[in-house]
């Protein structure tokens, strides 16, 4: 186990700046997920932690020791690759034990540890097979076994599940989570899948164009996204963005939104809760209101009376998409399409007007110019 610290790390290829000063600090035993679209520099950062890529500027520290110039094999890290990178001419057992072989571990010790790792991942019956004779999920397990057997300070995962089918991906995700809970080793995991990030991470770093957009726990990233990019990237279906104006009504600050109800166009006032009344400088200005689909649902009087942050309004329904548990209800707010999660038994027909309520305590406000959270 080890702590990992990335300090103002930059990477450029010629004049192209891939990473523009990354700062991340990781405690012992944390699970960091680097999340971002392809080309955001997340894999480059991982390769730099592994020592497979040089660092243009800044420092990477493992256990308070600068490792910029330490050879990959001496950093005591193990990595699981996207393509699994198994050695095609070696048996499963030799694949797993190769790192130990190179480190001159005795044969008995090696066999014992390979056996242990193989049993842990339930691949002990495959030890004589060649990688070509394995299924995708089995190859994935061998790749993990190869990392596991070394008992490293830090595990690195480079999109390890992206080559698996959907069902297997969910299975292996749980497997990795269990592994982290059992070993308690520091792990860094790269993915572009926000669900993987949310389920696995103890902290998520969202990258875009070589910059960290937000570095926080999954819950905080979800509930308090630092900007519109993060808000749109995390969550499925994504957060709704509604153009709104900040207004003051009856001594309370809130937002005013355009919508159609009962065939007529008009605006509706949604008051902000007590703890969000500190934005008086925004009165009269345009903002973007971010609402998660599950905080926007059919109006229920009993819930309204219990929670004063809930605000009700009515709006015309455009399209219904039943998913079983919930029906995704498309409405139009402020000229944008907005999704609400509604109980299937409380929906109306498309074209009719329905009463909704929104939890303003869980809503986010963004500056339309800088796209930052207000």
């Amino acid at each position: 186990m080890a702590s990992l610290s990335i300090q103002n790390v930059k990477k450029s290829y010629g004049s192209v700046e891939v990473l523009k000063g990354i700062d991340l600090d990781l405690e012992n035993g944390e699970f960091l997920v680097l999340l971002g679209p392809s080309g955001c520099g997340k894999s480059t950062l991982l390769n730099m932690i592994a020592g497979l890529d040089t660092i243009t500027d800044g420092e990477i520290l493992i256990d308070q020791t600068v490792v910029n110039d330490v050879h990959p094999k001496d950093r005591d890290i193990a990595m699981v690759f996207q393509s699994y990178a198994l050695y095609p001419n070696m048996s499963v057992a030799r694949n797993i034990g190769f790192g130990l072989e190179m480190r001159k571990v005795t044969k008995e010790e090696r066999e014992r540890r390979v056996d242990e790792a193989a049993r842990m991942l339930q691949i002990d019956h495959l030890s004589d097979r060649k990688p070509a004779q394995l299924s995708g999920g089995q190859r994935q397990r061998v790749a993990m076994g190869r990392a596991l057997v070394r008992d490293p300070e830090i595990f690195l995962f480079d999109e390890p599940l992206s080559n698996l089918d959907a069902k297997l991906r969910v299975e292996m995700r749980t497997e990795i989570k269990k592994l982290h809970q059992r070993l308690g080793t520091t792990m860094v995991y790269v993915t572009h899948d926000q669900i993987e990030a949310m389920t696995l991470a103890s902290r998520i770093a969202i990258l875009k164009e070589g910059e960290v957009q937000q570095f926080a726990s999954p819950q905080e990233v979800y509930e308090k996204p630092a900007n519109m990019y993060v808000a749109g990237f995390v969550g499925s279906p994504p957060m709704n963005f509604v153009p709104a104006a900040v207004v003051s009504e009856n001594g309370k600050l809130g937002v005013s939104i355009e919508r159609t109800a009962n065939g007529s166009r008009g605006s509706v006032f949604l008051a902000l809760p007590e703890d969000r009344q500190d934005i008086s400088e925004w009165v009269g200005r345009d903002v973007i209101l971010g609402i998660r689909p599950e905080t926007l649902t059919h109006c229920s009087d009993s819930e309204m009376s219990l929670n004063n942050r809930l605000q009700a309004f009515d709006c015309q329904v455009e399209v219904l998409e039943p998913t079983g548990a919930d029906t995704l209800t498309y409405i139009e707010l402020g000229g944008r399409e907005v999704i609400a999660r509604v109980n299937p038994y409380n929906t109306t027909e498309p074209g009719e007007t329905m009463a909704f309520m929104v939890d303003m305590g869980k809503a986010s406000l963004f500056d339309p110019k800088t796209e930052l959270r207000i």
Binding site: N47, K73, S83, A85, Y87, N89, F98, G99, M102
Partner: protein, 302 residues
């Protein structure tokens, strides 16, 4: 209603449409059967006769083969083929492989170097032979140049030394073919997943270890392809000998193909020439058939 009438109306056109692929292939197929396999069979039959200047068709059994194997030039030719072929294949593969590995290290001038190494392949063996004849000629080439620099006792006269002349063939042939081998290996090396190399790095393997233990074993098909391409080049080598040594000194550097040509077209010994040609075919077959057999068997297992 139209279901029936279409095939009934134009049966010829329909037949054509169904068999167009076979019709297109048929002429080449027929030509190949006649000119390649037909002539192999004819040569095989002639080798069993006492044909001299003109073919005769009276069957004489293995008379020509017994005669052939009693002739010193033929035995020299087969021995030369063994030395030349063996060294040529081995050195070309080793050198080509090393060049490919060197170029695979992201060398800056890779494009230029690759072209330089590959170009000899575009030259015919006649040109290669002539050029190397000049280079290796003691009075003109390397020996003369080194002596003119002041090293008077330097001697490099393999070309006119009947013991060593066969090795000059190896030098010229390797010069010509190793670039091609390099190109094959380089293409295969580029196909190796770079993540495997990264993984091996993290596992603590050195660069030489990565190539020897992990990458080269995966290139087995390339080794085999190179081996077979070079083998057939070696067996059918003819023009290189003609241009470089002319078979000499004496007949010390002749190869089976030169022997066959000499007997068939110069000395009016068609039967003997045919027998030597069949022996060459047998040499190639002895190598190719086990290969084809193992390849086809492997396919079935997959």
């Amino acid at each position: 209603m139209t279901q029936k009438s279409i095939p009934a109306k134009q049966p010829l056109l329909d037949w054509l449409r169904r068999n167009v692929a076979k019709l297109v292939v048929a002429p080449t197929f027929a030509l190949m059967i006649f000119f390649v396999y037909g002539f192999i069979a004819w040569t095989g039959y002639i080798s069993l006769t006492k044909s001299k200047m003109l073919p005769s068709y009276s069957f004489e059994g293995f008379y020509q083969y017994i005669r052939l194997w009693k002739m010193t030039p033929w035995n020299v030719a087969m021995e030369n083929l063994l030395i030349f072929g063996g060294l040529f294949i081995l050195v070309s593969i080793v050198l080509g492989c090393l060049l490919a590995i060197a170029l695979d290290q992201r060398v800056r001038a890779e494009g230029v170097l690759r072209t330089i190494y590959l170009y000899p392949m575009a030259i015919s063996f006649i040109i290669t032979g002539t050029a190397w004849k000049w280079i290796l000629n003691p009075g003109l080439g390397i020996q003369n140049t080194v002596r003119s620099w002041g090293w008077e006792s330097f001697s490099f006269d393999w070309l006119i030394n009947s013991e060593m002349a066969v090795y000059t063939l190896v030098i010229a042939a390797v010069w010509q073919s190793s670039g091609f081998v390099m190109a094959l290996f380089l293409a295969a090396l580029r196909g190796v997943d770079s993540e495997i190399i990264k993984a091996a790095y993290l596992d603590g393997a050195s660069l030489s270890r990565i190539y020897l233990v992990i990458i080269l074993p995966t290139l087995r098909p390339v080794f085999l392809s190179c081996f077979f391409i070079l083998t057939h080049l070696a067996v059918k080598s003819f023009d290189l000998v003609v241009a470089l040594t002319g078979g000499g000194p004496g007949y010390s550097t002749i190869l089976p193909a030169n022997f066959m040509y000499e007997m068939t077209f110069r000395r009016n010994q068609i039967g003997l020439g045919a027998a030597s040609a069949i022996m060459m075919l047998a040499t190639v077959m002895a190598i190719v058939i086990p290969y084809l057999y193992s390849e086809l068997r492997e396919k079935k297992h997959d």
